[in-house]
């Protein structure tokens, strides 16, 4: 889907945040970017999505996909109903379609919530609406910037399962930033470890997706992944 070479980015008057990032994304994979705060993972998402300009390097889209973005905060419009929040990308593109909105809401387990307002939702429900909004326009690629970082662990598990579910039903590629080793090990097909503005290591957890969520989390592959990713991160720090 995407091939990026030697990406460079620095904020004005600041040191390089991205300093030679090489990255490939294949169709349908979930890739986690993991690293300490300030290592450039969020900036990488912003540069790839076009929110920040590319200062040097090259991004090759094999076929430029529609993409969407999920932030750490749900970032909902408090004045709009759940349906209108989910409809945002469609509203902007003038292609509002009630059936599509209902479908996106069903996908995140919020059927019947159309007319509710964000103020009446729990934190987890808000995050689901945020994901439904990202899904509404049926993107091929989803950028997620620490999407579940503000949620408690129970909700986080649910959201992780939800994302895997969504991916299984669509041809969806995800690039997500996290600083949870466990989340990366469970969710990602490929974990990229970032350090000092570049990608220093890569690890493939290879969980058996045919097992139940809890069995996957108890599997040898999962704990092996957690250990190995932890070691890779530690190496970067040392």
């Amino acid at each position: 889907m995407l091939e990026a070479r030697s990406l460079y980015f620095a904020y004005p008057d600041g040191p390089a945040v991205l300093d030679g990032v090489d990255l490939n994304l294949a169709n349908g994979e979930i890739v986690a970017l993991l690293g300490a705060s300030g290592c450039g993972k969020s900036t990488l998402l912003r540069v790839l999505s076009g929110l920040e300009p590319l200062q040097a390097g090259k991004v090759d889209w094999h076929e430029k996909p529609d993409f969407s973005f999920v932030f750490q905060e749900a970032a909902l419009m408090p004045w709009a109903t759940v349906a209108n929040n989910v409809a945002l990308p469609l509203t902007i593109a003038h292609t509002v379609n009630r059936a599509q909105i209902a479908e996106a809401l069903t996908e995140v387990g919020l059927e019947g919530f159309e007319e509710r307002y964000p103020a009446t939702l729990s934190g987890g429900q808000k995050m689901r609406v945020s994901i439904a909004r990202a899904l509404a326009a049926k993107p091929a690629l989803m950028f997620l910037d620490e999407p579940f970082g503000a949620l408690d662990e129970i909700l986080r598990f649910q959201m992780n399962a939800l994302l895997l579910n969504v991916r299984a039903q669509h041809d969806l590629t995800c690039l997500f930033v996290t600083h949870s080793i466990y989340e990366a090990a469970y969710l990602a097909d490929r974990v990229l470890v970032m350090h000092g503005g570049r990608i220093t290591d890569e690890y493939k957890p290879q969980l058996d997706r045919s097992m139940s969520a809890s069995d996957q989390r108890a599997s040898v592959a999962f704990f092996g992944a957690v250990k190995n990713i932890g070691d890779l991160l530690g190496r970067g720090e040392a």
Binding site: G50, M77, L88, T91, I92, A119
Partner: protein
Amino acid sequence: MKKFLLPLIALVVVLLTWHFYVIWAEVPKFVLPGPGAVFGALVDGAPSLFASAIITLKITLYALFAAAFSGVLLALLFSISRSFEMTVYPFAVVLQVTPVVAIAPLVLIWVGIDNVDQAQIIIAWLVAFFPILANMSAGLRSVDRNLNDLFVLYKASRWQRFWLLLWPTAMPYLLASLKVSGGLALIGGVVAEFVAGSGGSSGLAWRIIEAGNRLQMEKMFAGLLLLAVIGMGIFYGFSALERLVLRNRR
């Protein structure tokens, strides 16, 4: 219920204290009339007092409307051009910090003493305008960063960004400033009338001056009472509007 009952009880206590103090201390009517006498003056002078109250209310609302329109417009221009904001903002501050009583005579001379109502609207606009500008500017700047990014990613047009994001974001700020500016517009209108002293004006302030000149203290109090009622009406009216418009946000 308690919200209404407590101030009501306080009001009754104050009125009773006032009533009995005036009787007990034998305060002359031309110094402090009792609440009964004030009520009597209100009833007796009802036709002229209420006609004046309507005039004052109209002037206040015209000025407030003008202030809201110009304040919102200028805030929008500020949000579009930072250089424009840097150029104009200090002058807006000058208008705000210069005491309005000192500006009023100048305005009166410019519009002519026969057009006190125009002077009232201009002066009321002057004082009501700044809080709306300042609040609206803050509101337009308080857009959620992530939402703003989404609008960029989904390639929203300028108009979509304004109607779907900026305007609703700034709405609570605008409504809050209307509550403040409503009271200020009333003050501005009254100040202009006081400075004019006499002439073409026939608002509540003029009724108060007139009654004062004739030592009709109870009528002065009746005029004051009506001014207070108008001010409260504007404040609670906008509070109600605010609750209505923002009811789904909390």
